[in-house]
């Protein structure tokens, strides 16, 4: 067995035992045969079978966050936003409250930060229909998290087949956020109250629900 085969075998043994060995360390160890090992590892990983389910290893893992995002996207009227937006926020190292503050300021709605927060919550949770969100919001959000408005729009429009959703998306937004005080943002209740009372929209409502223009 040559050096590359040895290193590949050690990687495969660790992988098949449920670990995720650091390929960078392994490649360093390969020295001049690095490219050869990388190609062998690529082939191995491409053909590797699905890893056996391990509920304990899954809990709290990055895979759990990704699965959670996809799961929300499956039933959402906001395409891939429930998966993408939290990831972009994490990449930008922003707490949601900070992001909402920046977003409200960018939109000139500092005095309605809570309402902006409620809408942003709806975007992250897949409760707010993406087609209602204006380009201005996406441009402001994109500049905060370092992503193009175009990609945000595309992700929001990437609707999964969602047979579980029978009602209109706006109704889903209103219904899905509890009005009992359990809401993540207290101000969500205010948005719902506006909905129920059929109050006229203000500028923030138009920005998040009035469509792209």
């Amino acid at each position: 067995m040559n050096r590359v085969e040895e290193l590949l075998a050690s990687y495969a043994a660790a992988y098949e035992a449920g670990r995720a060995p650091d390929t960078r360390e392994l490649l360093e160890a390969a020295g001049p045969e690095r490219a050869q090992l990388e190609a062998a590892l690529e082939r191995y990983l491409r053909d590797a079978p699905r890893r056996a389910w391990d509920a304990a290893a899954f809990a709290g893992s990055p895979a759990a966050r990704v699965a959670g995002g996809i799961d929300k996207s499956l039933g959402s009227s906001a395409g891939l936003w429930p998966s993408l937006l939290p990831r972009l926020r994490a990449r930008a190292e922003l707490r949601r409250a900070d992001l909402v503050g920046h977003l409200a300021a960018s939109l000139g709605a500092e005095e309605q930060t809570e309402k902006v927060g409620a809408y942003y919550h709806g975007m992250e949770q897949g409760l707010l229909p993406s087609e209602g969100v204006s380009d201005r919001v996406l441009e402001a959000l994109g500049s905060i998290v370092g992503e193009s408005a175009r990609r945000l729009r595309e992700a929001g429009a990437s609707a999964f087949d969602a047979p579980g959703l029978a009602a209109g998306p706006a109704a889903a937004f209103a219904r899905a956020v509890p009005a009992s005080g359990e809401a993540t943002d207290a101000s969500v209740a205010e948005v719902i109250a506006d909905e129920v009372a059929e109050r006229p929209w203000d500028e923030v409502d138009r920005l998040f629900r009035g469509g792209p223009g």
Binding site: Y15, A20, T23, R24, E38, A39, L41, E42, L45, R46, A48, P49, R50, R51, A52, W53, D54, A55, A57, F58, S61, P62, A63, A64, V66, A67, G69, I70, D71, S73, L74, G75, L80, S83, L84, R87, R91, S148, R151, S158, F160, D161, A162, P163, G164
Partner: protein, 207 residues
């Protein structure tokens, strides 16, 4: 699996299903409004491939970017499986998507390795590629280069774009790009070479 008569399975039974069976199961669970059942099956699918995808992406990208790209690839793969747009078995389709996402990552971010031609060094096809200048040239050259790349790229069909993504932008070997796209290695070389020639022509016409 017949989705009209959905039967909820336990963890062990789910873990024994193939990828395609898991996807069908998720569809059935959702159609039957059995959200927790769908969620568990999805978790099993994502967990099963997460480390593999991150490790593969990690050959080309920094760790944080590798996780980002792996997540995007998984989302797209699951979405296309649900939409009936995936081609072939789920695993190989997902790995093909991963390769495209790595390439897109490079292409969507400014100044990736060997993306930007250095006009002063473009004596031959293969020599036009160099490291990106650290700042925009004062005459806007860098902007023109990006526009040229976009133009040359947009002139290609989807499969040739895939080859350029992998072979030119993500620096896959010709063999790897051929494997991912179904083109021959020789075609990969030719497509890459033609792309570079076209780019050079666009740049020369603009200067």
């Amino acid at each position: 699996m017949d989705t009209s008569h959905f039967r909820e399975l336990g963890e062990h039974e789910l873990a024994a299903l193939t990828d395609d069976e898991l996807i069908t199961y998720i569809r059935g669970a959702r159609a039957d409004r059995r959200r927790p059942a769908a969620t568990l099956a999805l978790q099993i699918l994502v967990f099963g491939y997460w480390d593999t995808l991150v490790a593969r992406a990690g050959f080309k990208l920094a760790v944080s970017a590798a996780e980002d790209v792996a997540a995007t690839a998984l989302e797209s793969a699951v979405k296309s499986a649900f939409d009936g747009e995936s081609i072939g078995e789920f695993r190989s389709w997902m790995h093909t998507i991963l390769a495209r996402k790595i390439a897109e990552y490079y292409r969507s971010r400014e100044g990736k390795p060997k993306l930007v031609p250095l006009i002063s060094e473009n004596a031959g096809d293969e020599e036009v590629w160099g490291e990106e200048p650290s700042v925009d040239a004062p005459d806007g050259t860098l902007v023109d280069l990006r526009r040229a790349v976009e133009q040359a790229y947009s002139e290609l069909g989807p499969n040739h774009q895939a080859v350029v993504d992998l072979y030119v932008f993500a620096e896959y070997s010709a063999g790897e790009a051929a494997h991912e796209t179904g083109e021959s290695e020789n075609n990969v070389h030719q497509i890459g070479s033609r792309f570079r020639k076209r780019l050079k022509a666009i740049l020369e016409a603009a200067t």
